[in-house]
Symmetry: C2
Subunit: 333 residues, 2 copies
């Protein structure tokens, strides 16, 4: 497939290309996550923001702004905004999912408490809105405010779609487009808007972010079942235990015979999960080839992301964004 | 004192004076709390927004805008924004406080779950930001974004100040100025700003909202101990059980002898609360007259609110706002 050769490279290339800007973003993040009044805030935030996240989303804003020739200061604010929204979402997600680990470290809700995670998440949301006001650009404000609403809507939709075997691929797409792709596409779009790129290019940037975000989330959901090769590592099966319906399961439910359907109904709908059920679920995914089928879908979305880039000017960053789309899917071999 | 005669009247007067505008605000709120994708959102929101809240905060925005002669459409958006921020805060507060009742009805976290309250609160925050972008006024955006950050900061500060007997009146003031007064003062300020009122008037509107919000919260905290007359109704003692340090307790701790200090340390710091402790706490407040002393503070803040109004043009609404300041304190006789 050729995609495995790109492992880690595209992100490194982008990081190198955007090193100066990313340093400015990190400085702004550190400055704005502080609070003189409530020291709990920087404690909780630093735990998450310094935890070695890839800064993928703010990098997308820096990338499209630079690709479109922007040389002003405000892509820094917009990129920091995007990271703050992402971090606030993670804090609230971990409360909602009752998670105890993220990126191999204990979550904030475990180290402090759910209360701190809820309130510090609110603080970061508010900080993100302060940041996005500063460029004084109403269009980027609108895009980021809309993205925030779409993310929250996607999360609520996921909550009500969980445990419901009627959840189909169309609804799944709607959920991940909201909870994940909306921030990717807002990140790429605001970079173009702040740079004053022509409307067709801004649309292409949006389309790239949207398709990349969808591919990214499909792959994330595959990794939760150990990836297409189904290596059982730690944390495999979180979605199964939380009774979330993700793409490989939705495809397996659609192809289930009566006995298999009874299994999914018991484990996902009724939440009656027993020893060996995760292994049984993995066998059903394998029997119907749904991990490979979902990976194929992710590859198609990555292809759409790359196709969107054709409308953008020829630029080293354009090639890196193209490689990034391959890389995102290469995480699941 | 004369204040008791105003019971309910000032709010009724303002409601009548601003009836047309408030109808527009309510229509906009109903429109924007909807979600085609996630029906859970309007369910949860309607539970709270239709629950007969007094709409005090959005009324403040309508009042100052009208007082300053505004006749444009955007005070409606700003007022709806203020109510959305308030509602989102209530949803998250009930999660953080693990409350089961608000305004005599079961809370959303009890009727649905904490997850829904967290995520629907996020949705309302995002919706509030969409709304505040629409007037296209960067100054009102800035004020409301800042207020959101200040509110979250105040809530976190309250979390870390709870259970800590070193919390003094200055820290208490900082907490309530953040968690409560910041939205009152933003509400009154944006009304003036959108109306293009002179800077000195805008400052006076801010000062009025700030002082009114502080008086309001002091009184709220008094009511939690049954009011100055200490009638034990239902819900009395929630703050004591949650080990929150509010003004009457802070004053009582400051005047405590060794034995009393041991009582506060056991119940508030260590959280070791037994049968009869609430009654004991009430006796200590009575012994040192701290309910009356806190009520006196609230009266002083109401006085400051009324004094600020002197800088505003003579207008029927100005008199109503003055009465409102008296009314807020009259809730605790």
């Amino acid at each position: 497939m050729g995609v495995k050769e790109n492992v880690q490279k595209p992100l490194d290339q982008l990081s190198a290309e955007l090193a100066t800007e990313m340093e400015a973003v990190n400085a702004l993040i550190r400055q704005r996550m502080s609070s003189h009044h409530a020291p709990r805030i920087p404690e909780v935030t630093a735990h998450l923001i310094e935890a070695g996240g890839k800064r993928l989303r703010p990098m997308l804003t820096l990338a499209t702004a630079k690709l479109a020739g922007y040389d002003g200061p405000f892509h820094i604010h917009l990129a920091a905004t995007v990271e703050f929204i992402h971090t606030a979402t993670l804090l609230h997600d971990d409360v909602v999912d009752e998670s105890s680990q993220r990126r191999g470290r204990p979550t904030a809700n475990l180290l402090w408490d759910n209360k701190s995670s809820v309130l510090v998440g609110d603080y970061l949301f508010a900080r993100s809105f302060q940041l996005m006001v500063e460029p004084g650009n109403l269009r980027t404000l609108e895009i980021l405010a809309n993205a925030s609403a779409t993310i929250a809507e996607g999360e609520v939709l996921q909550l009500t779609a969980a445990q419901d075997l009627r959840t189909d691929e169309a609804l799944y797409l709607q959920v991940i487009r909201g909870k994940t792709a909306a921030l990717f596409s807002a990140a790429t779009e605001v970079g173009g808007v702040i740079a004053g790129a022509p409307a067709a290019q801004v649309q292409a940037m949006f389309d790239y972010g949207d398709a990349l975000g969808i591919a990214f989330q499909i792959v994330d959901d595959l990794l939760d079942y150990g990836g297409a090769t189904q290596t059982i590592g730690k944390n495999v099966g979180d979605d199964f235990r939380e009774r979330k319906l993700t793409l490989p399961v939705i495809k397996a439910v659609a192809r289930a015979d009566a006995e298999e359907r009874a299994f999914w109904s018991r484990t996902i709908e009724k939440g009656d999960q027993r020893e060996g059920d995760l292994e049984q679920a993995l066998q059903l995914l394998a029997r119907h080839g749904t991990m490979q089928a979902a990976r194929q879908d992710a590859l198609e979305w990555a292809g759409r992301a790359k196709a969107a880039l054709q409308a953008l000017p020829d630029h080293p960053i354009r090639a890196m964004l193209s490689d990034l789309a391959d890389f995102v899917v290469s995480r699941v071999a």
